[in-house]
Each structure stands twice: as C-alpha cells, then as structure tokens.
C-alpha cells in the first residue's frame, strides 16, 4: 500500500512541528490578503486535489471548475484553520466534501446514484479481456477511468488510487462497507475490460 498517499488522509497525524509552524505562518499571510502566499498554498496542493477531482468526476473541465470552487472556499474558511491537522489534510477533507457534493448533485440530476452494472461474471470472462503481458500505460488507465460509471469510479479512486480502506471509503461515500467492496471490485473488472479492448 502506498503509504505516502495515506499522509493526506484525515486520520493520519500531521507534519512535524517546524513544518506546522511554517504552515501556520503561510496561512496567516493568506488571511492578511497576500496573494503571493495563497499562490504558494495553491501551488503546493493544487495538483493533488485536481487529480482527485479529475478522477472522481471523470472530466477535467468539471474538475477545473471545482478546483476553483475548492480554493475559493478554502480562502473563505482559512479563519477556521487552527492547525490541528496538517494544512494538506484540511484541504483534502474540504475538497473531498466539495467533490462528493458535486458527484451527488450530478447523480441526483441524472436520477440515479448507482449504475446498472453488468454481471461481474461476464466481465470476468478471461479469454476476452486478458491484458496479457502488456504494460498498463498511465495515460490509458486515466482514459479508462474516465469511462467508468460514476458510483464505482468514486469507490475505485478512493480505494485503489488514494489508498483508503474499504471501511474508510464506505464512510466517506456514505455507503456500506460491502457496497464499497463490490463497487471497487466491479470497477477493476471493468477497467480490465476497457484496457483489454484498447489493444
């Protein structure tokens, strides 16, 4: 498991004292309205949050809009940042909430939360979907990820990409742990089919 990913997760302790002090100083400068300070904060975290948004939403254009909303919200809420958690964790939590709100409202508009998944056994049909010994190019994986149905994409991104455990995924998405498992598992099978089809 990629532990570096976990440092961003809310349950993991924050950085050392020196780093914490530096973060608080940066936040203070942002509060005073220094654009340079906020840009520093943005540059440090935008990539990570943009990746999350992009993959969860499956659409870079939406992710751009959302990223903007996330940082504007962060700027508004900086007053409430007390430094209990690392700045990255605080931002990550804020971003996750915004992203999930977005996913939910989009799903509500579309009139469905979960998708009609194909039977897993069909997807598991090995002969047809085998990847063989070909390498999985990241670019292909990103592309395939974007094609997953909303529900299982979110679970997969949180579990396999972000490194959360099923229990945590369930918590974040407000679903049962078993549902998280089945969504992630189906996502993997679908991805396999999508990646195999490409060749």
């Amino acid at each position: 498991m990629a532990t570096s990913k976990m440092t961003m997760h809310p349950s993991v302790p924050g950085p050392a004292e020196g780093a914490r002090a530096a973060e608080l100083a940066l936040v203070e400068r942002c509060r005073r309205g220094e654009l340079g300070a906020f840009e520093e904060l943005y540059r440090a975290h935008a990539g990570r949050l943009f990746s999350l948004a992009c993959r969860m939403l499956g659409n870079p254009a939406d992710a751009e809009d959302l990223l903007q909303d996330i940082f504007l919200a962060a700027h508004r809420k900086l007053d409430s940042f007390r430094g209990e958690a690392a700045l990255g964790t605080w931002l990550y939590r804020l971003a996750t909430n915004q992203i999930l709100d977005h996913v939910r409202s989009r799903a509500a508009r579309a009139g469905q939360i979960t998708d009609g998944l194909e039977d897993a056994t069909v997807l598991a049909d090995a002969g047809e979907h085998r990847l063989g010994d070909r390498a999985i190019a990241r670019i292909d994986l990103e592309r395939a990820l974007a094609q997953l149905p909303e529900g299982c994409r979110a679970a997969f991104v949180l579990h396999d990409v972000e490194g959360l455990e099923h229990r945590e995924v369930a918590d974040v998405l407000g679903i049962a742990e078993g549902t998280s498992k089945s969504q992630v598992h189906k996502a993997r099978l679908r991805l396999r089919a999508l990646l195999a089809r490409k060749w």
């Binding site: 309205g33 340079g36 870079p60 903007q68 056994t121 994986l141 990103e142 990409v161």
Partner: protein, 246 residues
C-alpha cells in the same frame, strides 16, 4: 472463463484482506486454473498502476481565475494584489518603461554638457539644487517606477517559464537547445544592462536596454509556448480523445 466461485477471493487477494485459510485455498486453485491466475495478475496490475498514478497538473488558467475572483471579491490586500501578473499591468509597464525613457532622456539634458550622469547621490550633489528640485524627486519616482516595472516583467517571465518548462517535453531537443542557448543570450543582456544601471543609475540607454531585454525574454517565452502548442497540435488526432479538453 474465470471460475465464478473464486471471484471474490481473487479480489480480496488484491485488496490484501484475504485471510490465511482462504488464501491457501485460492492459491491451490490458481496453480491449476490459468484463467483465474491471469485474472489475479491483471487485477493486481490495475490496482498497482492505479496506486502509482502521478498527480495531474491543472492548467494555469485555474489559478488566474482564482486570483481574479479573490481580487474581485476584495479579499486581497492592496499591495499584494499588485504582485499578481496581470495583463493590464503589462500594458502599464510598457507605459512605465516609456515614461522612464522619456524622463530619463529629459533628465540627461540637465547634466552639464559633455559629462555622463553619475550615481544619484553624486548627481544630487553635483546638480545645482536651484536648477530644478522637482527633478530630484522625479529621479526617485523614476527609480521606484523602474523597480516596479522590472518586478512585473520578472513575474511574467517566471510564469511563462513555468508553462514553458512544463511542456518542454513536447519539443524536439535540438530546438529546445536552441531556445535555451538564446534565452542565455538574453539573460546575459539582462545581466549586463543591470550591471550598467548599477554603475550609472540614471543612464537612459542602460534602462532602455534592460527593458528591451526583459521584453524580448517575455516575447521569446510567449513564442516558445505558442510553438509548443503548434507542435502538439501537429499530430494530435489521437491525442484529442485522451481527455476531451486540454
């Protein structure tokens, strides 16, 4: 066809949550079933590939929009606001530079004929105060103006440089090397005119040269970025579908 009854076990194996007993059972099966073996391999590789995906970088416009909104909503302190590179500022500084040149040139007429202007302290003492006290003030103003304008150029250059670096890889290395060499030519010009300006702070040609060099650097970086976009467009039939939007 992978065996339906082992599907969950395979997935849990990938999750890393499969208990020892069921794991042993699965491993026995995998030894005999090539399909299930392949399935486990594939899913594992997908899991690992997903875990090692790099961060995606948002396009630069996102930050520009955020900065714009913050400014619009009045959430920035005044001095801080001016440190953001803005298009309108670039126009302003062209003006500032022109002003500097104009003022600089007119100041030169104040110096005794045949002598070159010296450092401001010396100049202040040398030039008769009775001559034009306002001119002494304007030297400081001009210096200020100059510093600010220079800062704007610098931040524009930094920003452009970031964009250029981030997509340098889409460029032929020979061309990239040419651009780099020539960026050094310009940097050299910037350094030389700066040094000249330090030795003769009121020298209009030194100022003019500094601004011209800074301006050229901005232009070259802009052209570089435009060129890289062209090159990427050049063969992008397959690329357009990668992400519907770039």
């Amino acid at each position: 066809m992978a065996c339906t009854r082992y599907l969950t076990q395979i997935q849990e194996m990938v999750d890393g949550t499969l208990g020892a007993i069921r794991r042993a059972e699965l491993e026995m099966h995998l030894d005999q079933c090539e399909d299930c073996h392949a399935l486990l391999d594939d899913l594992r590789r997908i899991h690992d590939a997903a875990g090692s995906l790099d961060d995606l970088q948002p396009p630069d416009r996102v930050w520009l929009q955020i900065a714009g909104r913050l400014r619009q909503d009045g959430r920035l302190a005044e001095t801080a606001a001016s440190s953001a590179p803005r298009r309108s500022h670039l126009a302003l500084l062209a003006l500032a530079a022109a002003l500097v040149l104009a003022v600089g040139a007119s100041l030169m007429l104040l110096w005794p004929r045949g002598e070159t202007p010296r450092a401001p302290a010396e100049a202040g003492a040398g030039a008769p105060n009775s001559g034009n006290p306002a001119a002494v003030n304007s030297v400081e103003d001009v210096e200020n103006e100059l510093r600010q304008a220079e800062q704007h150029y610098e931040s524009a250059i930094t920003r452009l440089q970031q964009i250029a670096n981030s997509s340098q890889s889409s460029m032929d290395p020979q061309v990239a090397a040419t651009l780099q060499r020539n960026a050094q030519v310009i940097d050299q010009a910037i350094a030389e005119s700066r040094a000249a300006l330090r030795s003769e702070p009121t020298s209009a040609p030194a100022r003019g040269a500094l601004f011209e060099a800074l301006r050229q650097k901005v232009t070259m970086l802009q052209d570089t970025i435009a060129l890289m976009n062209e090159m990427r467009k050049g063969n992008s039939a397959g690329a357009a579908q990668v992400l519907n939007k770039s």
